[in-house]
Symmetry: C2
Subunit: 207 residues, 2 copies
């Protein structure tokens, strides 16, 4: 018998794996999925290209795992806010605000995570995390309806609408105009206001 994995090696391996995942985050945050190449990620992780393939079976799975990891963080943050004390109205306001602030602080990354198409595996992973986000919002809206904070409405659709409005208002291409570029706090405030109006207003009555 001549070789067996020692604990230290295991840690190094795990560490290298983590560094690669972090590198994906960094590179994607810089150039998006479209511009993120395996060679670039490897370099950012301080590793040779081939090494990436010792830890992940393909680009798609690597990137999908990186997305899931990141989305998991964000989801935990959002879920914590949604679970806090207060009326449904207040909690929804906080959730939207937190989402907005975090998104504007890292627009490119946020866009990639939420909307930018990529390898099929990545798209699949995103679908899952997106639904998880939508579920948080939907739950808050449902709570609010039950409590009388919000009028009856299609909560599932409203949740999707919130995500759409947040995405478009904060991180979509139109949000990157140089002309009307207010500071992040202002933008987040206005978007939050829009979202809350959408959910909390009395229904529009036709004619």
């Amino acid at each position: 018998m001549a070789y067996r994995h020692t604990e230290r090696v295991q840690e190094q391996l795990q560490d290298k794996r983590d560094r690669i995942l972090q590198a994906v985050r960094a590179v994607v945050g810089e150039v998006g999925f479209r511009g993120a190449q395996v060679a670039t990620v490897a370099e950012a992780a301080g590793v040779a290209t081939g090494t990436v393939y010792r830890h992940f079976p393909s680009k798609g799975e690597l990137f999908a795992e990186a997305l899931a990891l990141n989305a998991g963080h964000e989801l935990a943050v959002l879920a914590a806010v949604a679970r806090s004390e207060g009326t449904a109205m207040d909690r929804l306001a906080d959730a939207v605000r937190v989402f907005a602030l975090r998104a504007v602080r890292a627009r490119r990354l946020a866009w990639a995570m939420i909307a930018e198409p990529a390898e099929p595996e990545v798209d699949a992973a995103r679908l899952i995390s997106r639904r998880a986000f939508a579920d948080v919002f939907e739950g808050l809206i449902t709570d609010g309806i039950a409590a009388g904070d919000f009028p009856p409405q299609n909560a599932r659709l409203a949740a999707a609408g919130l995500i759409g409005a947040l995405t478009e208002g904060l991180i979509g291409p139109l949000a990157q105009d140089a002309d009307h570029q207010p500071n992040a706090a202002t933008l987040a405030r206005d978007v939050t206001a829009f979202c809350l109006q959408a959910v909390s207003a009395r229904p529009y009555k036709e004619s």
Copy 2:
């Protein structure tokens, strides 16, 4: 002297060009930008691959022109609705409804036109048409504020929010769930309600 373009030939040329553009529309409506190859488009147009390059300098420019053409149609429809008789509230309601109905009727195409990243030229063309759409909505919102139909608000942002909500609610990946798939009319109605609430409600007051 032996050859000169005759009128009939010019027409045939123009016609072939148009057929190629239409083929892009058809193919993209089927498989999106991601899956749309030049060879497929050529076949759909009843033309050899090389012929495409006699009419368009590159895939990117071809697809960008196809997008611009299609967006132009949609924009004309939307602008007509926005210019019709009625209060700002009614016109916005109509505009949103028309947008929603047309989008759900051709989801894949709509998604490609509105959101799916593609060649840089395509993305650039989309940015322009997107802003044009947003401008229509923004104009209606501004009118509504002036008329007292809507409370004061960030009209530019609200317009972006509407597009986001429409996109997400109607044609985004979450909208394609098999489970809660109501008919198009119902979906359009609910999304319209959401959008109108978002714009017409009294502002949310913090605590």
